[in-house]
């Protein structure tokens, strides 16, 4: 059983090219600014329903995304704007889904974080926590059956979701089938308001790995370089035939559960602890210290991202809303089996 632990400062340059951390940082930045925009739109009453942000979790999330190839499978969860962008989700998809545009991937049928393209390997989550993991297994299982090799699948979860039966069944299933699944747990100390003390009793969630017979990796989720390194190595282990990998990252969400939530229940001590570091700032510090870039670049990238986001929002706000009269109002694809009579 392999178990790696990566903490602050343990990583140097990572990725296939020396520019990889820069790429990752710029995606984190875009994700953060995109989230900020959604928060603003939400306050302005422009978004129907919940708004779920990944603030504080971008380092982990982006590390997942940049570690994957386009031909891999990715089931992001609610705090994975960064991972999605890194995996290749067009930024405008997020905007369209949040604003309910008829042109978005979900065409107004589902909203906010429930978006994706199953056939392209970006699985759109259902809300039931843990439920996406076995679906990733299924995709990987099918690819193996079809003789496709070398691809991996990531499922992201919060620590709260590890309490679901679905998580357990799926991780065990992946272990039995020796699937190249990387299960990434963002332990942000709270599930909505519920602290870890009411969620689990093990010392570390990575301790679960041995009970499934899978490899595990622990990482400080605020540590940009550590996340890149850990995910790259976990993905690599899975890709090279070492079976499922459990990655546990410790961090804090630097926002409410959703934008309706002020997260008053998070104690100041935790916020002020190393867990409460802002991974974006950590990343900037890392890039500066390792001479990837000069401080002057950050502001330019930021402005560029803001322009991109504003343009997308401006465009989508002009797009048509879904039209109930144009809906087919059927949930099945086999037209000949549609019910004509129920009402």
């Amino acid at each position: 059983m392999l178990h790696t632990v990566s903490g602050p400062g343990s990583a140097g340059h990572v990725g296939s090219t020396a520019a990889a951390p820069l790429v990752a940082y710029r995606i984190m930045l875009r994700a953060r600014l995109l989230d900020d925009k959604f928060a603003a739109l939400s306050r302005a009453g422009k978004i129907h329903g919940g708004v779920f942000l990944g603030r504080g979790q971008e380092a982990l999330s982006v590390a997942v995304g940049v570690s994957l190839d386009k031909s891999d499978v990715f089931a992001p969860l609610i705090r994975d704007a960064a991972g999605r962008l890194a995996f290749g989700e067009p930024l405008i998809d997020a905007v369209r889904t949040y604003l309910g545009s008829a042109l978005g991937p979900m065409r107004g049928r589902d909203g906010n974080v429930h978006r994706g393209y199953p056939r392209e390997g970006l699985l759109p989550m259902i809300s039931h926590l843990g439920a996406m993991v076995s679906v990733v297994n299924g995709v990987l299982f099918a690819r193996r059956m079809k003789g496709i090799t070398g691809c991996v699948g990531v499922a992201c979860l919060g620590e709260g979701a590890t309490s679901t039966g679905a998580f357990h069944e799926a991780l065990n299933q992946a272990a039995v089938e020796k699937l190249p699944l990387i299960l990434v747990v963002a332990n942000n100390q709270f599930a909505y308001s519920t602290p870890n003390s009411r969620q689990f009793a093990c010392a570390s969630l990575a301790d679960k790995a041995v009970g499934y017979g899978v490899e595990s990796h622990s990482v400080d989720g605020t540590d940009f370089a550590g996340c890149l390194e850990t995910l790259s190595s976990a993905v690599n282990r899975a890709r090279t035939g070492h079976g499922p990998q459990l990655v546990v990252a410790n961090l804090l969400r630097l926002c409410g559960h959703g934008e309706h939530d002020d997260a008053h229940y998070i104690p100041t001590e935790i916020k002020n602890s190393p867990l409460g570091r802002d991974c974006l700032k950590v990343a900037e510090k890392f890039l500066l210290e390792h001479n990837y870039v000069g401080a002057d670049m950050f502001i330019g990238w930021r402005n560029e991202a803001i322009r991109e986001i504003e343009a997308a929002v401006a465009q989508v706000l002009r797009e048509a809303a879904p039209d109930p009269f144009a809906e087919e109002w059927t949930a099945i694809s086999s037209k000949y089996l549609m019910e004509g009579h129920a009402s």
Binding site: D110, S127, T194, P322
Partner: protein
């Protein structure tokens, strides 16, 4: 003073905790946080050790409740959304619902399901699952439509010796208000005439009662007198009150927010036609949501569920038959 549907639910739980030491509440975030909807606000503080956060484990939440009920306690389980009860489903329908029948030991648990559509909530935070639970033997399924019923029926639910699925409609949480909490109530299992009329009976429940009442008000301006029956409890279902109403009006329209195949509206029609066939002057009709998941976008959502408008239109059609 004015009290909302949601506050009534909180008050009923406070009342139950205060009066009955056997009561406790268990669910995600119900403790210090007071629940995703604040239905247990301050209760953890007022009743230390009796309002507890659970892990995200719906199956184990219900299982624990059954065990506690065996020991004589009266657990209230809050599902964060009705939609998530599908992962606690087995313990509800196979463990809780069968216990009394198997063992003669009753299973007084209350499972609170915040249910029904609200704009922008989408397919997994909007479901109406009352018919699913009502199909299983061994469960009581309650669907209060008013602040008063939310209060009195939740108190009743906790007192009932059988497992109760308490369907509280999220759309009513904040905007439905009443002046005060009731001191008396119709017994559980009795339907209520929400509005009297003699031309047509609309049978419905929960949030749809308000759409039906609005439709009735609209139709009143056209000279029609619509009777609205609020079922209150869909299992048991008060067929007598329904049939008595149909006897007065001769016309039946059943309205529900759930999916169209099966469900409450089919059951009501089947009972009325079996037992009150001769009373009908026209074919009984149904109006349900569309047969797709509940859409996220407000435009789609509004077209997916029945509204006062579509209820009025269906009633008009039926009045003309």
């Amino acid at each position: 003073m004015s009290i909302t549907y949601l506050e009534a639910i909180r008050e009923a739980q406070a009342h139950a905790l205060r009066d009955d030491p056997r009561v406790f509440i268990y669910g995600q975030d119900v403790g210090a946080f007071g629940g995703a909807f604040k239905a247990t606000k301050n209760l953890a503080r007022e009743f230390p050790g009796r309002v507890l956060d659970s892990p995200i484990s719906e199956d184990a939440m219900v299982g624990l409740a059954v065990g506690a009920a065996i020991e004589g306690l009266r657990p209230i389980i809050e599902m964060q959304f009705a939609d998530f009860s599908t992962v606690g489903f087995n313990q509800i329908v196979n463990q809780a619902a069968t216990l009394f029948w198997r063992t003669q030991v009753s299973c007084p648990i209350t499972v609170r399901l915040p249910f029904g559509g609200t704009s922008g909530s989408g397919p997994f935070h909007s479901q109406s699952l009352e018919a699913i639970y009502a199909h299983y033997p061994g469960l009581i399924v309650l669907t209060p439509a008013t602040v008063e019923d939310a209060y009195s029926m939740l108190l009743a639910a906790v007192a009932i010796d059988d497992p109760v699925i308490f369907c509280e409609h999220k759309l009513l949480y904040y905007h439905l208000k009443s002046e005060k909490l009731p001191s008396e109530a119709l017994p559980v299992g009795k339907a209520r005439i929400a509005r009297e009329g003699r031309d047509l009976t609309i049978v419905t429940y929960s949030a749809m009662v308000h759409e039906a009442l609005a439709a009735a008000a609209e139709l009143a301006t056209e000279g029609w007198e619509i009777e609205v029956v609020d079922l209150r409890s869909i299992k048991p279902l008060d067929t007598d009150t329904v049939i008595a109403s149909v006897a007065r009006t001769g016309r039946l329209l059943c309205v529900g927010e759930a999916w169209p195949w099966g469900g409450v509206t089919a059951e009501v029609v089947a009972r009325v036609t079996a037992e009150g066939y001769g009373l009908l002057d026209a074919p009984p009709q149904r109006l349900n949501a569309k047969d797709t998941p509940v859409p996220y976008h407000p435009n789609l959502w509004a077209a997916h569920r029945p509204t006062s408008r579509s209820v009025a239109a269906a009633a008009r059609n039926l009045l003309r038959t």
